[in-house]
Symmetry: C2
Amino acid sequence: MSKITWDNKSYLLGGERKFLVSGEFHYFRVPKEDWEKRLILLKEAGGNCVATYVPWILHEPVEGDIRFGDIPQRDLEDFLQLCKKLDLLVVCRPGPYQYSELKYDGLPGWLCENYQEILARDIHGNIFRGSSVSYLHPVFLEKVKKWFDVVNPILAKYMVAKEGPVAMVQIDNELMGIHEWYGGFDYNRDTMGFGTESGRYPVFLKNRYSNVESLNLAYGTSYGQFNEVYPLKDGNAKKSNETRRIKDYQDFYFQTISEYIYLLYKWMREAGIDCQIVHNSANPYMNSYFLEAVKLMGKDFLLGSDHYYNLNQDWNQNNPTPQYAINVYYSNEMLRLMGYPPTIFELPGGSLSDWPPITKEDLLCCYMTNMALGMKGSNYYIFTGGPNPEGASHHGDLYDYNASIGALGDIRPTYESQMIFGKFLEENAWLAGSDHMADFHIGLDWEQSRSSHYWNGKRGMGFSNSDAWKFLRKGLMTTAFCASYSCNLSDLSNPIVMEELDKPLVVATSACMSEMIQNNLVEFVKRGGKLILSPVIPQLDENFNPCTILSDYLMAGGSGRFEKTSPVISVGDVHNILMTGSLWVNESRPSEAQGIAFEETSGTEIGWKADFVGGGKVIWLGFQWSHAKHEHSDMLRCLLAKLECDKSMIRCSNPNVWTSIRSNGEKHMLFVMNLLSAKMTANIEVSRKGKDDIRLADIVLNPMEVKYFEIEGEIEL
Amino acid sequence: MSKITWDNKSYLLGGERKFLVSGEFHYFRVPKEDWEKRLILLKEAGGNCVATYVPWILHEPVEGDIRFGDIPQRDLEDFLQLCKKLDLLVVCRPGPYQYSELKYDGLPGWLCENYQEILARDIHGNIFRGSSVSYLHPVFLEKVKKWFDVVNPILAKYMVAKEGPVAMVQIDNELMGIHEWYGGFDYNRDTMGFGTESGRYPVFLKNRYSNVESLNLAYGTSYGQFNEVYPLKDGNAKKSNETRRIKDYQDFYFQTISEYIYLLYKWMREAGIDCQIVHNSANPYMNSYFLEAVKLMGKDFLLGSDHYYNLNQDWNQNNPTPQYAINVYYSNEMLRLMGYPPTIFELPGGSLSDWPPITKEDLLCCYMTNMALGMKGSNYYIFTGGPNPEGASHHGDLYDYNASIGALGDIRPTYESQMIFGKFLEENAWLAGSDHMADFHIGLDWEQSRSSHYWNGKRGMGFSNSDAWKFLRKGLMTTAFCASYSCNLSDLSNPIVMEELDKPLVVATSACMSEMIQNNLVEFVKRGGKLILSPVIPQLDENFNPCTILSDYLMAGGSGRFEKTSPVISVGDVHNILMTGSLWVNESRPSEAQGIAFEETSGTEIGWKADFVGGGKVIWLGFQWSHAKHEHSDMLRCLLAKLECDKSMIRCSNPNVWTSIRSNGEKHMLFVMNLLSAKMTANIEVSRKGKDDIRLADIVLNPMEVKYFEIEGEIEL
């Protein structure tokens, strides 16, 4: 088999940059006699990999009786041998969890029924549901270890390094989903060790605060010892010290997840699994829940994400939409910034629901949008199904999932979309090594993206992290796409932000920003960087303690909400901008600053620009918006113009048509997306270095159509 | 001008059934020199009516200084005369509220700034926002009366009865929106009279409970007098007596709205306004908030609704969708059941937001969908705009709204959709007198549709009203559309349900059902009706008191939730049905009943069918679903087959293509809707009496396309 490696740009198969094209293919569902025929269909659609769960519920039907190979549905090894024969890599997902519409989410029934002490609990001690466990519960771990002790050695025999097909093994499945969706964080007392000196939670607090006096100072409490401290209920905090306490619990909870990941990882490695260990975040908004794990595991781990657009009628969209594209964009960018080739371990191949339908047009649009926005590896969930093993599924005899290859082997219209996409990837293989080209950077403060549990914006502590995160997506990113600006996300906690000083950095700020990020931004400006901050200038660190490094350097004061009925907002020469969010004023500002934005009826300054020693320039704008009007685009252009950076590589005449340019340095591909239900036309210009602009006139895009154009010559930034 | 009358089928203009086609046209924004030109454009698009606000903020810029005619923007009378000249009816909306992106929602600034005692308050006494008033506050009413005393006599001069153009005058605008969206119910102490013997709230309680002992019994309290009673906070109830107390406050609040409507109505009538008085519910889900008003006002009032599909990026959909069609469907049906010709006083003509875009394809689809599902009158909001009067608007110099005729008079592509729709209405004028043809009836318990404030389904009191309401929309209605069944809603509180005994009646039940409805259903069965109840058999009345009229008649017991991991659900011969909601069992059932539905692994009966004296048949199914799979359609067909009523007028091969047949008894029109982003094809058969079925093969529908076919002959039910 090809050796598989990766960097944050792409996978390398046998040393060559390649796109990982996988299809979810359950040996325990697809009839054995159909395996080869359907695997060949996957290869014909461009597949070079298959993924499968190895369901605990199926292989250990009775406790202690772990079975492989006794019936065709348990013939894992035959399946792996066949994949090897067909030169297909394999991603194995031995759990413990599978989900996959299996009973008990894929855990054995005997485990959930006979050992209820392992179940996750809410803060009141209530069980969420019968199959949501507390990951680190000792009894659960003991049972998992026994399962792993059997399944892992089997997988280990088939490692790529041993000329086998298994290139990746996945730890668990969509971790935290079974908590998040059914109750919130897990507060299982035994797992978390509340009240006991050596318990996980007291130890975490001790590590964080060293002594209980510091904790009391932070929490406004008067505990005598760490083991007296219990978490506060998520959502109930009114004061910042309570909010901090909830945030601490979240940090702790995420740390337990990293501990769980590390433990399973260790067991895998001990069993001889020496391939890439991976995991799939359940969706874009959960990617940052894995920061602790990513930090702990480093390159010995690879996080991907799952990018569905619709699984039932309650989803916000029936088809891919611009809002979906924003999710895809930030998700892929997050994975890239974590150091991984953006991999979508579950890219829709169908849906359990027949309605709303998964159409071939929507699917192809989904694939191309993910591609245009940075996807480097993918796995169709599912490529094909089959009969559910008896007693293992919670619904139906057939697991069809409306997949492109039906449960009975029939070829569906959606297969055509996979063929087209596969062909596109084959013909444009160089895109595997491509980067997204950017006019400017949008700063990412990870903490903002995971703050909704502890700081939902309604707690009177200034502009919240979750509001900033919303502003980033619905304001900045959406406006950038509508204005045909190309942006990369930039990890603010990484000093690398300072490496591209020629490009402006736009940061959606909240009342809080860590010392590290404040220092990075100061350093960025000191070295001559161009920075736009909106809507506030933080005065606190991420734990709500005073921290004015950035504010002091800028010589700017704190920010207060500016309440005004019917404000008239002007930014530069863009007047009367629709208020779709909130306005903020600064208590003080750099003495040399120029006012650039005003609430006109009161003459109040809501934005300034200032120059700093070393050539750095800073714009502060006290306006948080949700993109609604073309004037929001004009405003962004105007701000960038004040930094002399308003030019964009791409000019698109139609704000409803979104674009992306990817390049490997030699070749350039322009993607043009219509994620709306009506036909769109657009004229597009792309700047080139030393050559005339490319002009693409009257591009017509059907609903859900993504077109692409290879651009000759070098793009002008 | 044509005399205008109406019944619940349609409007009649000069005695002829006609569709009311109106366009919102603000004389205070459209430049006077453009009035005629643009009104002619409206007429050319099929318009026979215009609607305009008469903004208080504009006409009373300083308290006591009410101005008309001094500047072109205040030339209401010239405008009305021009409409008369052009033979256009007028809907006037003199407020007090306008919204319309005017400052203070159209109230004068001096009123909101100088009389803050009039503002609505939450239960803690906090003001929601600076322009949300407490409608019945005496100071507010005093100011409104002075405004009305000037504006109403002007309008009265232009009544249709006096050969003027004014056919309708609207009371206020989207009542309760300024409460609902910014805080909830109004608890202004002065308005509601908490604590005072003659206060509105104590008097309401006295009328409801007669003596305080009855109230104490109902609330589990020990008050000495009615004026000691204060409302409980919405959302905090855990017990049924607390829930009842919150529901009482809601009933009281809705009653104050009816009192307010009546008062404004009276002032209008006193001023000589003798035309139709109307109001627009802000959206479908608020229609039932007006039941008290509808009951109080009778035919001297006409309620319509507003049917937007997208006004900004936070909406659940960017374009019309099947989910939107469900809203349109039940909204139009509700208005019809109230006795009105379903009128959409704000049908999208554009959007304040430039993005997501309002496209001509989406708009035409929206119009045709509303038409197919019962709309009989409409008003494009807005048809055309213009410069905002100085100081009156909270945003921008121009109020363009992306309307079909731009603020500067330019004709936009969306005008084409209005032309096409206008032409369709002209060519098919008979549709004004058409009814929707139905295979069966879906019962409407109004209370369910307005229960989310007091009973959100998380309160352990059995299957809630709001869950039943969700089941009705996402389960029953959606399944019916996907299965190409045609249904009418049937008002369960009206004995008229018994008039169509040949058609089955399907009722989504909650734990509560009023005595009146229980009696009506019993009577329906006694007379030979065929009834399907799902998922529970109510044991309580709407106030949570025991009420087992229906249960006793059926000889069936109460319902308990049936909790089972991975249940296997079968209904008739449809097996293994996807569980997308909840399961319920009956404590007891009619002894002669046949089991028709089971949880198979446990053998538990979750549905039965029983025959009753007089030929009535009842099916109870303990399954609440959200439509996801074709088997949900099969299940519905199976239930109807057990009542020998599974035939449908229409059979559509594609469940993603939805249909509607309208008929005036002589002519029949089939509407075929594709509300998805991909092209759809369908084969459709329509049954005819004494003739071959009509077969429409290979109908191809573009995304957002609605096609229509006139069907010859009589349709077979």
